[in-house]
C-alpha cells in the first residue's frame, strides 16, 4: 500500500465493510461523543433500573421469587458495569459518569421514573419493559463500535431470562385468584404506553436517526422497532389472557402488522423534563447510595496502599 489513506477515509471504509471500530481507532469527534452519550445513558438506565424492582426484593411472595428477583437485579448492575467498561474504552471515566448522573447532567431512560405499585409490576417490567429493551438491543449487538456490540451480546443473553421470568410470574398470577388477575391487568394498563414510548418519538421527528444509521450505531428506526414490539406482544397478551389499553389496536391484513393508537408524547416529554412520578426519588436514592459508600471506597484504597508498603 503506497497511498496515504486519510484517517477519516479509513474510518468510513471500516464502517462500509461492516467491520467494527475498536478502542484505539481514530474516529470523528461526533462519533465519539455520540457513542459516549449513548453508552453512558444506557449504563445509567441499567443502574437506575435496579430501583423499581429492587423495591420488591424484601417483599417477594416466596423464596423462589426472591432468589429470581435478586439474580435479576444483580444482572442489571452487571449490565451497567459492562457498559461503563465499554464507555471507558472511549476515554470516559466511570466515577465521572456517575457524577454526571447524580448531578442530573446525563440522563437515563424515562421508563424507570414510573413506580412499581404491586408485585404484578415486577412481572410486567420483565415481560414488556425488558421485552422492549430486547427489541432495541438485539440490533445493537451489531453496533459498529466493537466494545458496545460485545457488551450488548452478553446483555441480550441475560435479558432473555429477565423476560421469561416476568412472563412466567404473570402466568402464575393469572392462574390465581380473581384479585390477582385484576392486579396483572392493572399493571399491564400502567406499563403498556410507557413501554411504547421507550422506542422514542416517531421517525418524522427524529432527524438524528439518519446520521446514526450511516455510522451503523443504529440499525432500525424508532417506528420499525416499535411496530416489531407491538407485533410480538399482542399474541403474548392473548396467551396470557390480558388486553392492552388501546381500543385502536387491531390486525391490519394489508400491512401485515397490528395498527395501534397514538402515543401521548406530551406525557413522555413531561417525564423526560423531570416531572414523572419518581424522577426525584430515583436520583436521590442513587446519590445516597454513592455518598454512603464513599468511606468503603476510601478504606479499600487505604488498605491496598498499606499492603503495598509492607
Amino acid at each position: 500500500m503506497t497511498a496515504t489513506v486519510s484517517l477519516e477515509e479509513h474510518f468510513e471504509h471500516t464502517i462500509e465493510r461492516d467491520q467494527r471500530i475498536e478502542p484505539r481507532d481514530w474516529v470523528p469527534e461526533g462519533y465519539r461523543k455520540t457513542m459516549i452519550r449513548q453508552i453512558a445513558q444506557h449504563a445509567h438506565s441499567e443502574i437506575i433500573g435496579m430501583q423499581p424492582e429492587g423495591n420488591w426484593i424484601t417483599r417477594a411472595p416466596s423464596l423462589r421469587r426472591k432468589a429470581i428477583l435478586l439474580a435479576k437485579v444483580q444482572d442489571e448492575a452487571g449490565h451497567g458495569l459492562y457498559l461503563y467498561s465499554a464507555a471507558a474504552t472511549l476515554g470516559a471515566d466511570r466515577a465521572d459518569l456517575t457524577d454526571k448522573l447524580i448531578t442530573g447532567r446525563q440522563k437515563y431512560s424515562s421508563i424507570f421514573n414510573y413506580p412499581t405499585l404491586t408485585f404484578a409490576d415486577v412481572g410486567v417490567i420483565g415481560w414488556l419493559v425488558d421485552g422492549a429493551a430486547i427489541c432495541n438491543q438485539v440490533p445493537l449487538c451489531r453496533s459498529s463500535y466493537g466494545p458496545y456490540a460485545r457488551a450488548m451480546i452478553r446483555i441480550c443473553k441475560e435479558e432473555s431470562f429477565h423476560q421469561r421470568q416476568g412472563y412466567e410470574l404473570l402466568m402464575t398470577m393469572m392462574k390465581g385468584t380473581e384479585q390477582q388477575r385484576e392486579m396483572v391487568q392493572e399493571a399491564v394498563n400502567r406499563w403498556w404506553w410507557p413501554s411504547l414510548m421507550m422506542f422514542g418519538p416517531p421517525d418524522a421527528d427524529s432527524p438524528n436517526t439518519a446520521q446514526s444509521m450511516a455510522w451503523k450505531i443504529k440499525r432500525h428506526t424508532n417506528d420499525e422497532l416499535r411496530q416489531r414490539f407491538v407485533d410480538m406482544s399482542v399474541p403474548q397478551a392473548s396467551a396470557l389472557g390480558v388486553t392492552f389499553p388501546d381500543p385502536e389496536l387491531k390486525w391490519n391484513a394489508e400491512r401485515g402488522h397490528y395498527d395501534f393508537g397514538a402515543v401521548d408524547w406530551d406525557e413522555f416529554k413531561n417525564v423526560l423534563k423531570g416531572n414523572g412520578p419518581c424522577n426525584a426519588s430515583r436520583i436521590a436514592h442513587r446519590r445516597r447510595a454513592h455518598e454512603d459508600g464513599a468511606w468503603v471506597r476510601e478504606a479499600a484504597v487505604a488498605h491496598a496502599a498499606k499492603k503495598e508498603h509492607k
Binding site: Q38, H42, D93, N208, H303, A304
Partner: protein, 118 residues
Amino acid sequence: MSELTSEGGHGAVPLEGVPAAPGTVKHDWPLYEVFVRGKRGLNHVHVGSLHAADDQMALHHARDLYTRRNEGVSIWVVRAADITASSPDEKDPFFAPSGDKVYRHPTFYDIPEDVPHI
C-alpha cells in the same frame, strides 16, 4: 423532541445538551482488564474491564461481574496501565512483517486432489 432517539437500549433519552467530555472527577480505584478461560482447552479471552482497589478485589469483582453463569473456569486480571498494546491504527507498519508471508498458510500450497489426508 428532535434530539431523541431510541438508542441506548432501555429507551429514548435526550442526546443534545448532554455533556460527553471527560470531567474533573478522578477515579480512586485503578482500572483492571479481565481475561476469562471459558472452559478447559480454551485460551483466556479478554471480556472487559472493572475498577478495584487491589489485585485480590479485582479477581473477586471479575468473578461476580463476568462469570455469574459459569462462563469461566479461570480468571486473569491485570492493571490496564501495565498492558503494552499495538494500536489497531498502526496495523500496517506493525503487522506488515506477516502480511506478505503468504507461504505461512496451508492454502499457499497446491496439492493434487487425489493425495489423501493432507
